[in-house]
């Protein structure tokens, strides 16, 4: 699977796919780590605009990336969460580890 992403000096925005399950999460894990190392990323943004479904495999992948960014002194943000993804985030306590950007903050 090819993931869409954008990089800009030290920052990486990953557009997460429609569904994040074990299969997708394990590929995202590898690809994100490769990009973080190759582009010396310090600021990682997960853009959930396209994501309708995520299970606990996605949670594990996000916690792992947030740890990795923590080690290298970087930060992680999540943007454009659907109501569904927001609910999953809240249940898993993810907002304690990852800054969830609310839409209002754009304007």
């Amino acid at each position: 699977m090819e993931f869409l992403y954008e990089t800009k000096t030290g920052s990486l925005r990953i557009f997460t796919p429609r569904e994040i399950d074990e299969c997708v999460a394990s590929e995202m894990r590898e690809e994100a780590d490769m990009l973080i190392d190759n582009y010396q990323i310090r600021h990682l943004i997960f853009d959930f605009s396209n994501t309708e479904f995520m299970d606990s495999s996605g949670i594990g992948m996000l916690i792992g990336r947030s740890r990795k960014m923590g080690y290298i002194g970087g930060s992680v943000e999540a943007e454009n969460l659907s109501e569904r993804v927001q609910k999953i985030f809240t249940l898993a306590g993810l907002p304690k580890l990852i800054t969830v950007v609310k839409e209002e903050q754009y304007d």
């Binding site: 399950d21 299970d55 916690i63 249940l91």
Partner: protein
């Protein structure tokens, strides 16, 4: 032809992660005529995904086995059973605890059973070490037809 009020479907598939999406799609299609809300459908889909992932990742951790999935609908009641003949769970009560995982090194978060419990009305786990695990989940769909 007289239609039974209760309908059941059942499938078995090899424990490859690629089959998770397939399992979710089958359950979604099976429940479509009950007109669940988008949220209710997502609840069931997530619970199925959790149980199937567990069978694949934990039950058959270093082998390939068969995962069974049964789904029953009766009125607005939905019942899903996912079972494996894998390694089983040593301590079921502990496994249900939030953030408990036997695979922290594989970046598991220990949230699977919590999601099943949050999204379904009832979750029953039957397991025996070395014999396998069966997770039976129930949900009553509340809202009337439509969105």
């Amino acid at each position: 032809m007289i239609r039974e009020q209760e309908q059941e479907m059942s499938m078995r598939f090899d424990s490859y992660p690629e089959n998770e999406q397939f399992a979710r799609m089958v359950v979604t299609a099976f429940l479509m005529d009950l007109n669940p809300t988008v949220d209710e459908m997502a609840d069931v889909k997530t619970a199925v995904s959790e149980a199937v992932t567990n069978a694949i990742i934990h039950g058959y951790e270093d082998c390939v086995g068969q995962v069974s999935l049964t789904c029953r609908k009766h009125g607005k009641d939905v019942m899903v059973t996912v079972s494996d003949q894998g390694k089983g769970i040593a301590d079921v009560e502990r496994a249900r605890e939030p953030f408990f995982t036997t695979k922290p090194e594989a970046e598991r978060s220990g949230m699977g059973f919590c999601f099943m419990e949050a999204f379904m009305d009832e979750v029953h786990i039957t397991s025996a070490e070395g014999r396998g695990t069966s997770v039976e989940m129930k949900k009553h769909l509340h809202l009337p037809a439509g969105e």
